[in-house]
Symmetry: C2
Subunit: 103 residues, 2 copies
């Protein structure tokens, strides 16, 4: 994978281990993934792997691939994104984002 | 993206901001990406985005996509992986790994 902008987001739930909340947030992420500039996406949860270096406290992960920084920037103000924040930010207590471009 | 195992690794350098070290580690990651079970990979660095929720202290990121947990497990003991650790672990001070499977 080259010439891409990776936006990888990890969500911690306000109600930890609340599966219903997690599933609702996952539904929201599915709708969020309809933003036109998103080339590929993945809605995930921690795998069963467990070593010291592995962060597995998050409830959901969302991987979104954009063509470039401009597309990701436009996504930030996309109505679908703003609606997602409005409707679903209630669920999370913490978010960590990793934005990566080609080395 | 479905039915995949995402292995996303973030590296902090021992010699912070040492571009030569970063480039050597990136060369190592390119060799590491030759492991046969890796379906897609991306060697990255932090984008220019900068908000409170964005973690941008790492020097390099490595995204690796496997078909399933078994392939990722076998990668852990793959000779190419073991050689990478032997040759390149000198460079990093911290590693954070996110292993994610389909929600």
């Amino acid at each position: 994978m080259k010439n891409i902008f990776i936006h990888h987001v990890f969500f911690w739930l306000k109600n930890i281990d609340n599966i219903a909340d997690r599933d609702l947030l996952a539904e929201g992420l599915l709708k969020l993934s309809e933003v036109k500039t998103i080339q590929r996406f993945h809605i995930g949860k921690p795998a069963d792997t467990n070593r010291d270096v592995i962060e597995r406290g998050y409830a959901l992960s969302w991987f979104a691939e954009f063509k470039n920084a401009e597309d990701q920037a436009s996504y930030q103000t996309d109505p679908i994104h703003l609606k997602f924040i409005e409707d679903y930010s209630y669920f999370w207590s913490k978010v960590i984002v990793y934005d990566s471009v080609d080395k």
